[in-house]
Symmetry: C2
């Protein structure tokens, strides 16, 4: 790894000037400081070893996720992380970041310039500008619900989507449901893709056929229901599994608007168990992600990485919060059948495989 | 959770007798003690909460894995676990177990009777008698390379086989290899299945066809080479990827015996990076599992579970130890072609799917 002396030699300046640049001293210019930081990062400098180990300063970067009030998805994650970090005397800085911020700041330069020894990233997607830089970051970094290959400095924490969907489908099949629709979140989100695969696997393991018109991607918003629920109802679905609780809230509303009662006519099940789930009418049965645990584990993984243990994938167990939005199936005749009857995915492995082109993501 | 009083009521004996039974006091009979322990376990009793939290006593159960001398697979795992545990003043007991031992002792009863608050299991297979009991154990349990569904008290630690195989195949393709054989470990072992899937995925992502006669299961022993290497050589493979280092050692010997030089004529690559890998002739290029890290993480996961954080799947990053058993590909004409040319698995998704019936295991 590069030393302060290497950086000084490369820039043709003194060691003490480099040191001032790294430490943010006031008596060198902002542009020279930036040059020092960028050169240091380019050379793979991440701080003096002794200093780094004693440096108990972490950052939670948040992009596109609510976290400020208690009902939001991010609130408990941030809380759990802080609880675990404070117990071991770490300082935690919360830094919301926009797309523009990511374009204007280099990730490693920002980490070095602000004296962070590690970071936890919430709400980012793989398309975010920083993700390209994080593929080769030299700083310990944990991502919620995103996986980066091959970089030992980057870890992934999430809830086991496969098991979450499996317990939801199991709950529904025990209630006699067979025609189970799935309104997933946004296509291209890693968790959406994992949940779609898990839905296909679970249906298959219960020997239930899948109609592609009942297994669709929407968006992680309540409005998604408006476009898909009428089709699900027409095709005779008796239960609708949703990619998250917000989608489920929209699905319940849309069912009611169409004159169907939840759960008497149709069962609805969510994912996440946000505080809103218990306040819906009826209260929502949903797959619980323990967000306090996610936050704590984010910290534990960062701590392990600082001991040079490279935990790459870490999944927490989901559980099922059973409330009143699911009940015994009431089979109905479909008003119409799937347009293309051949497109129904049964135990037929070839068709099944075609639907699973995105299986590479696990 | 059941209390000591509940156990006493159920057995119609006094609380103090139950307490003596649980604590192994000398003045009650062995058969009464056994009855107390079994009833306690049946009722889901895992120790008084306050006592359990202060109880820093863990067990490493070892079945069918060498660990006593430095060159073995288990040695560093046990060492890493102890290092991490001792740092936090935990006591660690090493307990080798046979098939008979598992049949004669109930897992939870043994844990309770010996005052363990958690256990790390090495070398077990899903067919072992204890596995059925561990599906519903009330004690924090971490399994190396085995996954149990839905029980929040059981976690899985391993090295990411998918990434390990991917970096091995990438290394070989960069050297120009296209006809890459894979001699995997035993069928039905979870890691063997994961590695077979990873091999198929990696070949597919490099757009290389897979001949099923070049992708076979053997056993985790050197002798496996004897049965498969002649076929690989006849079919024109220029590289052989192996399910572990022992298999690779057999493959190198078998290649030499058949008059082929490693790596000039054929490249060989292993998995694990056991100490023996660097002493082979030629020294073996292999995918490294950091066994000290595995051991340490086994402890970290147990510790998290004792704080009621249910980490279910945890994978460490592998790395590639490049030595002299791999070199630039030297294409050879196959002496014969695969008997059934149609059986070659290309980018054709249907055939690919049929080969991946075991894909459920991830």
């Amino acid at each position: 790894m590069a030393t302060i002396k290497d950086i000084a030699n490369k820039l043709g300046i003194s060691v003490s000037t480099v040191s001032k640049g790294l430490n943010g001293a006031k008596d060198i210019s902002a542009s020279l400081r930036q040059e020092v930081l960028e050169t240091a990062v380019e050379m793979g400098y991440t701080g003096r070893k002794t200093k780094r180990q004693s440096q108990k300063r972490l950052c939670i970067f948040i992009e596109n996720m609510d976290y400020e009030s208690t009902g939001t998805f991010g609130y408990d994650i941030v809380l759990g992380f802080r609880q675990a970090a404070y117990k071991e005397q770490f300082e935690v800085v919360i830094q919301p970041v926009s797309h523009e911020f990511q374009v204007s700041e280099n990730y490693d330069t920002y980490m070095l310039g602000n004296g962070f020894s590690g970071a936890f990233l919430l709400g980012f997607s793989l398309e975010d500008p920083w993700m390209e830089q994080i593929k080769s970051t030299a700083f310990s970094t944990v991502l919620l619900d995103n996986f980066i290959e091959k970089n030992p400095n980057v870890g992934y924490i999430g809830t086991d989507s496969e098991e979450g969907i499996a317990i939801a489908i199991e709950h529904l099949t025990k209630l006699g449901h067979e025609k189970i629709a799935f309104l997933d979140g946004s296509r291209g989100s890693m968790v959406s893709d994992l949940r779609m695969i898990a839905y296909l696997d679970s249906m298959s393991s219960h020997r239930l056929p899948v109609d592609p018109n009942l297994a669709v991607y929407g968006y992680f918003v309540a409005d998604a229901a408006h476009y898909h629920v009428p089709t699900f109802l027409d095709l005779g679905a008796t239960a609708i599994l949703c990619g998250n609780d917000l989608i489920a809230s929209g699905v319940i509303e849309e069912c009611k608007r169409s004159g169907y009662k939840v759960p008497e006519d149709i069962s609805v099940i969510g994912f996440d168990d946000l505080p809103l789930a218990q306040h819906l009418d009826p209260p929502l049965t949903t797959v619980k992600q323990d967000r306090i645990e996610i936050g704590k584990c984010g910290f534990y993984i960062l701590r392990a990485m600082n001991e040079h243990i490279s935990l790459s994938k870490n999944l927490l167990r989901p559980s099922l919060s059973v409330r009143s939005s699911t009940a015994i199936a009431k089979p109905r005749l479909a008003k119409r059948h799937s347009l293309d009857k051949d497109s129904v995915i049964s135990a037929n492995p070839e068709l099944y495989a075609q639907f699973q082109q995105h299986r590479q993501i696990r």
